[in-house]
């Protein structure tokens, strides 16, 4: 039992379960899933579909955070990627053609890759603090996206392109399959190769890793490139959803929601140990909460207040001080976990 409670995904997973349960109790239709034309519909399905951009961005963010970094530019990369894809489609003679769409997507992803590589270059080669290095692109990227779209909101009609965000594959949304595929690919690459362990080593102690012969430059670079490409995919899904390249609102604040999701999933912002499963849960919590707020009939604009409360609640739950209070309130029943923690702290301090 205690092993389950001490598992680091226990709290995020229970939070998600509680959130969904509360929603179902409050409104039975929340859990209702209907079948139309062989496709599933319902609030839960919507969450799975709508979480795609955030999921992709958060996935990349997890890798970057594991290297002790942060990528503030993902929202801007999303905007650029969407702007590039839609501008290509808009400018082509056959906006609905398969070839056009493939070219649009490929070019958009290539641009995202270059932007990610740029971030990685600043961080891993020039050694610039990640928060500042990616702030550069966060500021400049959106401006660039605005220049690509000439400051206008380019509206595009291309039925196949629209399918990316709104279409169905068999019974579930295409967007859902995209993020699941991304999670599986990233998960397999991280754990089946040594990339995961080496990434954690670099995140925990970069210098020790270098002395142990780890090519930390390449590993850090890889993380930012992955983050850039995943943000690019997110940008394509986002633009497919709106079918309009809106450089101002595409991916707006998504970096913050992504960071929130990663932290909710139990990965520390200090880098090192990371959990992809945790991030998936974290994203689903964020997305469910978003839907909940809508469900409650609150104006979407006011939703940040709820996120503020969630963030505060989560950080308080994770805070050592609150743990101590908890122990003193609940008596000695859990003190068995205390010596370990204190001993660790002592060792670190010594």
């Amino acid at each position: 039992m205690t092993a389950i409670i001490k598992h680091r995904l226990f709290w995020p997973a229970s939070a998600l379960v509680v959130l969904i349960t509360v929603n179902m109790l409050a409104n039975a239709s929340f859990a209702r899933i209907t079948v139309r034309d062989g496709h599933l519909y319902g609030a839960l399905i919507d969450i799975l579909r709508q979480s795609a951009p955030l999921m992709l961005v958060a996935l990349g963010m997890t890798l970057v955070i594991a290297t002790r970094g942060i990528d503030l530019s993902v929202g801007a990369i999303m905007a650029v990627s969407g702007a590039v894809a839609l501008t290509i489609i808009d400018g082509s003679e056959d906006p609905g053609g398969f070839g056009t769409i493939m070219i649009a997507i490929l070019v958009a992803l290539l641009v995202s890759l270059v932007l990610g590589a740029w971030n990685g270059f600043l961080v891993s080669v020039l050694g610039i603090q990640p928060i500042i290095a990616t702030l550069v692109l966060m500021l400049a990227g959106r401006g660039t996206a605005l220049l690509i779209t000439s400051g206008e909101i380019t509206t595009v009609v291309s039925a196949p392109f629209k399918q990316i965000a709104s279409g169905y594959l068999v019974i579930l949304p295409v967007a859902f399959f995209i993020w699941v595929a991304a999670v599986v690919v990233v998960g397999v690459v991280e754990r089946r190769t040594a990339l995961g362990m080496l990434t954690e080593a670099v995140g925990i102690n970069p210098e020790a890793s270098r002395l142990a012969g780890v090519r930390s430059r390449g590993i850090i670079w890889t993380a930012y490139i992955a983050s850039g490409v995943l943000a690019g995919v997110a940008g394509i899904i986002y633009s497919s959803n709106t079918m309009a390249a809106d450089a101002n609102s595409a991916g707006y604040l998504i970096e913050l929601y992504a960071i929130l999701a990663v932290v909710l999933g139990g990965t520390s912002l200090m880098g090192g140990k990371f959990s992809i499963a945790g991030t998936v849960i974290g994203v689903l919590i964020v997305q469910t909460l978003e839907s909940t707020i809508l469900f409650l009939g609150v104006a979407p604009a006011k939703s940040p207040v709820f996120f503020a409360l969630v963030v505060i609640f989560v950080v308080l739950v994770q805070s050592p001080r609150v743990h101590r209070w908890g122990r003193s309130v609940f008596g000695s029943s859990r003190t068995s976990s205390a010596p370990d923690e204190d001993a660790e702290k002592k060792e670190v301090a010594a």
């Binding site: 020039l126 928060i131 550069v136 400049a140 939703s303």
Partner: protein
């Protein structure tokens, strides 16, 4: 102890002289660089626009248009020097602005409204500070909560823009004290006074030095008996207070409160502070440097509007400039840690 002093034999006197100079003044160099860039920008723009740029009216307007940014930058400098960060300032400014506008339109007198705005800002800062200090929350995350809270509350107050007609608040912006072609508004005076107080506090009070100490090494500062906890909470309160004050200045400037004001402003503020020579790693930086950073930002904005180019260039250029600065800072830090 001379053996220690001469451990690294100097290559020759000139290099040693430069090394010593760089060592002793390393923390000022980025700020000096910012001042140089500012001068180049101003002079360059003046040549480009045939002397129409460096006019008293134009320079006065720089301060007028960016008073709120300057106040935010002062608060942010305190936070960043402690190695923290405050992402909430833009939304705190937006929230206090709309809060003030809403109260004023409800007939509450300015004498009540203005302190309320300041206190509201300070309270959000206090919340962030307490989370950071007493609950070990990373500043990035704690102030992210502040960002969400401020923005959400702004929309809770009102979803739409609210006009301000209160004479006191409008007086802050419309009054112009003139000296020849130069002029300054009360908002500009407030911004400069905040800069002056900030600089004084940072350099010459124990609290200010403790801010640097915390940025240098928190545990050392604690062992030295400095009041670390109080200081760390205080910097966020100061930043929040500056957010509230900026909300007032922005409301006066625009004659309205609007819940979307200040979106993304935190990034501009961080950029200006860094351009002004403050190290994000903490421990080094100057309030006056941040003021120069704001002027650099303001000058770029003005140049772009002079050229009639898209304002989206502003952020591209500020981003580029930020990059230039961090590379320069990086080089300086690398150099000093090598000679040190």
């Amino acid at each position: 102890m001379t053996a220690v002093e001469t451990e690294k034999a100097p290559r020759n006197a000139v290099f040693a002289g430069i090394d010593t100079f760089v060592n002793r003044h390393a923390s000022v160099l980025p700020t000096v660089a910012a001042a140089v860039i500012l001068s180049v920008l101003l002079v360059g723009a003046n040549i480009r626009f045939d002397g129409r740029f460096l006019t008293p009216g134009n320079i006065s307007a720089l301060l007028l248009n960016n008073a709120f940014l300057m106040v935010l930058a002062v608060g942010m400098t305190f936070v960043i020097v402690t190695a923290g960060i405050d992402l909430s300032v833009g939304s705190v400014m937006g929230f206090t602005g709309i809060l003030g506008a809403s109260m004023l339109s409800g007939g509450v007198p300015a004498i009540v409204v203005i302190p309320t705005m300041l206190v509201a800002g300070a309270l959000i800062g206090l919340l962030i500070g307490v989370l950071v200090q007493y609950f070990n929350v990373q500043p990035f995350i704690a102030s992210l909560a502040g960002l969400f809270l401020g923005r959400g509350l702004a929309y809770v107050v009102s979803l739409n823009s609210i006009r301000v007609e209160d004479p006191v608040v409008l007086w802050l912006q419309t009054t112009r004290f003139r000296l020849g072609d130069w002029y300054i508004t009360p908002t500009g005076i407030i911004a400069l006074v905040v800069v002056a107080i900030g600089a004084l506090v940072m350099q010459y009070t124990r609290f200010g030095r403790t801010v640097y100490a915390v940025g240098g090494s928190e545990s050392s500062a604690e062992l030295m008996g400095l009041k670390v906890a109080r200081t760390k909470v205080m910097v966020y309160v100061i930043s929040g207070l500056c957010g509230g004050l900026a909300g007032l200045l922005l409301t006066a400037f625009s004659g309205a409160g609007y819940p979307r004001y200040g979106i993304g402003t935190e990034l501009d503020v961080i950029a200006t502070v860094v351009i002004g020579g403050t190290l994000l790693a903490g421990g080094r930086g100057y309030v006056l440097g941040s003021m120069i950073g704001v002027f650099v930002f303001a000058t770029i904005t003005t140049i772009i509007s002079f050229m009639g180019a898209e304002q989206s260039w502003t952020h591209i250029i500020v981003g580029g400039l930020l990059l230039l600065f961090i590379v320069v800072q990086r080089a300086i830090v690398a150099r000093t840690s090598r000679t040190g």
